[in-house]
């Protein structure tokens, strides 16, 4: 009896368990079903979307690319190039072109300066320290063929040839340099990133010293000896060396400061063994005065000084202390150098140059109907020959002019004005102001005004009637 009761209890328990298991199974299977169904729905929904995106022009199967080549027959040759742009290779012409219509040239699907960014978005790192202007402007086709080319990365030209097609001056200098830097010859990309650099200026792959010490070992005895025991690995190599090659041994810049050439570093700096070896013995112009005393005395005896000469940087406001590409160890060519501070003058020149270009184009287009009038720009200013009129250090004259007489100064180029011009000179009083005499700058402004003949007024009548008031209309 007891046995049969036990059996019955076990059976009941088994039934309960089985019911639970069945319920769980049912729940599991219904979940799986749901999962499966949603997967199917998602796939069904996503497929047309993705397909639609891929095949947005509803091309017939197999028609991609092939269809385009039916008309663009010559393009087949292009595709034989070894380096083909991936979308071109996979026949996805419509990735970039709209086969029907477009607001952009070449039926491009987007602004040509932005279209590459669709796929190549991260080409310029965020917070990059320098970037290539053409990249920022979206002018990728300046370097790359968007379809295919003979060169890696579909570049238009191989290696340095491509870079030097824009950087012509650099190309010439590299070719002509007597002492060459081998990494430059092997390729600009040894040191530079073509698009942007997250680490350094000038698209350099790394900071200058870090880049140099990859090849040059600063602890080698020869290196130490060459640098007179100074710990230059903590300095700036480009202060003396031209990384692109030069005509001086050791690829020093072409113009070297005599103490550097003679390894006389201690003339200006503390000893190499000092805790502060690069510290100069004196500050500002006082350091340079030691050797350049005659020039300094001459400068300080003038009424007007070019103030940056006596500020903390002193002579180094304009000159390199060690070596330079430019004569007189200037930091840059005169136009760029003066333009660093006198932006107001130099920026105007760009505007005037553009005005002159436009006028010349209009004259050419008119086939003789329009005659070219006077220049709006003064060529010495435009060419950056600031020193034709101004003394860079000091002068007794306003504007640091090299000659107290404007007539004499202007007459060095405009010789005719000394014998055939409106009465000018120290004896001719300006009718507008008894303290002024009629000088060249009474009617012209030497840096340009945007009007013809450097006239400060829009018309010549406006100018002349300033004094000759009886003719004012």
């Amino acid at each position: 009896m007891a046995h049969s009761v036990k059996k019955e209890t076990r059976r009941k328990a088994h039934r309960v368990i089985m019911r639970r298991v069945n319920r769980k199974d049912y729940r599991m299977s219904s979940r799986l079903k749901w999962l499966f169904l949603s997967g199917v729905v998602i796939t069904l929904l996503a497929f047309p979307l993705a397909y639609g995106q891929q095949n947005k022009f509803k091309l017939k199967p197999g028609a991609q690319g092939k269809l385009c080549l039916e008309c663009h027959d010559a393009f087949k040759e292009k595709l034989k190039n070894p380096f083909v742009h991936t979308p071109v290779k996979t026949g996805e012409c419509s990735e970039c072109h709209n086969p029907h219509s477009s607001s952009h040239g070449k039926l491009l699907d987007e602004d040509p300066n932005k279209i590459c960014n669709k796929c190549h978005e991260g080409i310029v790192p965020k917070n990059s320290k320098s970037s290539h202007k053409v990249v920022m402007e979206g002018n990728c086709v300046k370097c790359h063929d968007p379809h295919a080319s003979n060169n890696k990365f579909a570049l238009l030209k191989p290696g340095n040839e491509l870079c030097f097609s824009c950087h012509k001056t650099m190309g010439d200098a590299v070719t002509k340099a007597k002492f060459k830097h081998s990494p430059v010859e092997k390729g600009c990309l040894n040191c530079h990133n073509p698009h942007a650099s997250a680490k350094a200026e000038h698209l350099l792959k790394n900071e200058i010293v870090a880049l140099c010490v990859e090849c040059h070992k600063p602890d080698s005895p020869a290196f130490v000896r060459q640098h007179a025991n100074y710990p230059v690995a903590k300095a700036d190599c480009s202060s003396c060396h031209d990384a692109h090659g030069s005509n001086k041994a050791g690829i020093l810049f072409d113009n070297v400061h005599a103490p550097v050439a003679n390894k006389g570093c201690t003339q200006c700096h503390e000893a190499a063994t000092s805790p502060t070896p690069f510290k100069t013995k004196r500050a500002g112009y006082e350091l340079c005065r030691g050797c350049h005393s005659t020039m300094m005395s001459d400068t300080f005896n003038k009424n007007r000084i070019h103030w940056p000469l006596v500020d903390k940087k002193g002579c180094l406001s304009c000159h390199e202390p060690h070596a330079s590409k430019e004569k007189k160890l200037l930091i840059a060519n005169v136009a760029s150098l003066c333009g660093t501070c006198h932006t107001d003058t130099m920026e105007k020149q760009e505007k005037y140059a553009e005005m002159e270009k436009q006028e010349k184009a209009a004259v050419a287009a008119s086939k003789g109907k329009i005659q070219e009038k006077g220049a709006v720009a003064h060529s010495p200013v435009m060419d950056g020959s600031c020193l034709a009129c101004h003394a860079p250090h000091a002068s007794d004259n306003v504007f640091l002019m090299t000659n107290p007489s404007q007539v004499e100064l202007c007459g060095t180029c405009h010789e005719w004005l000394k014998h055939s011009s409106h009465p000018i000179g120290a004896k001719i009083i300006d009718s507008r102001n008894k303290n002024l005499t009629v000088q060249c700058l009474s009617c012209h402004r030497s840096h340009g005004t945007g009007y013809k003949y450097l006239n400060p007024f829009p018309t010549i009548t406006d100018l002349c009637t300033q004094c000759h008031k009886q003719y004012k209309r």
Binding site: N303, I305, V310, D311, K312, D344, N433
Partner: protein, 301 residues
């Protein structure tokens, strides 16, 4: 109708405070020009002007290497006595203190010279007890109402503050990044302003502050090459745009309020102006260097 009138009246009354708290602008109205000294000799490229409330006007007649002392009272200009001393052969900036003593910065020697109110040489202003570096080159200087000197030392990149006796009191270091400072000003609250000619910006240090901060963004839109800065008794800032031949007016907070005057030769126009001085009466004196004259304007607010 009455209701409408009442509403209009209420609006008019409410708008009054708005007007009074709104940004104040100032205009320069031409008054007259000074061309000659007391003997009829013409000015030559004057770069300095200093004025005070006792109607004294000192002109740094730079091109002639002298100072001229005028009195200007109710549009009446008197004298123009010449002060010519060997210690000040090329005065490019002039100032006066509360005692009427005259101070001139010499462009050739780059030293500040102290003269008595009547123009006799007294001494050079040499700050005493300077912390290292001891070298200094004054590009400009100002004197506050308590006769303290504020010297723009471009050699050691700082503004030196000394007592009336020339004893060092403190200094304010130049900001880390700047182009070139041509001038400084002390506002009525004792704050110091610097004008950066290259970056065309104004920096400011509050009274007793040890550092400068930017007061304005670039003024490139309004000025070509600003070289002089001053304030009026209410703290409005006036910047002389030397290459642009105009005056840029800024609020105390550096906000742009307007640009006055233009380049030219006729009266009321400027040609490479240099120093500017505003007195309590609202008379404005501008050394119009390129036109070899001093022009007087009235400040209209």
């Amino acid at each position: 109708m009455r209701v409408l009138l009442k509403i209009l009246l209420a609006l008019a009354v409410l708008s009054l405070p708005m007007k009074s708290f709104g940004a104040e602008t100032a205009k320069l109205r031409y008054s007259q020009s000074i061309y000659f000294d007391d003997r009829g000799g013409g000015l030559k490229q004057p770069e300095g002007v200093a004025c005070n409330d006792k109607s004294v006007l000192i002109v740094g007649d730079t091109g002639n290497g002298r100072l001229l002392r005028y009195t200007v009272q109710d549009k009446n200009i008197q004298a123009g006595n010449e002060v010519k001393i060997p210690q000040l052969p090329y005065p490019i900036r002039v100032q006066m203190n509360s005692k009427g003593e005259i101070f001139g910065l010499d462009g050739k020697q780059r030293r500040i010279v102290r003269l008595s109110p009547t123009g006799e040489f007294k001494d050079y202003v040499n700050p005493e007890g300077l912390p290292s570096p001891s070298s200094f080159i004054p590009r400009s200087f100002k004197i506050d109402p308590t006769d303290r000197f504020y010297i723009l030392d471009i050699f050691s990149e700082r503004v030196l503050v000394t007592g009336p006796d020339g004893k060092y009191q403190r200094h304010i270091t130049f900001p880390k990044s700047y182009g070139f400072f041509s001038d400084l000003a002390v506002d009525p609250k004792g704050g110091v302003l610097l004008i950066d000619s290259v970056r065309k910006m104004v920096f400011a240090a509050q009274k007793d502050s040890k550092e400068f901060t930017l007061l304005t963004g670039t003024l490139k839109q309004y000025a070509n090459f600003p070289t002089y800065i001053t304030t009026d008794n209410r703290g409005m800032i006036y910047v002389v745009d030397e290459n642009g031949s105009g005056i840029v007016i800024l609020g105390q907070d550096g906000s742009f309020l307007g640009r006055q005057l233009n380049a030219g030769w006729n009266e009321g126009l400027l040609y490479y102006p240099s120093q500017m001085c505003i007195n309590e009466k609202g008379e404005v004196f501008i050394a119009d260097r390129g036109n070899s004259r001093v022009q007087i304007f009235t400040l209209v607010k």
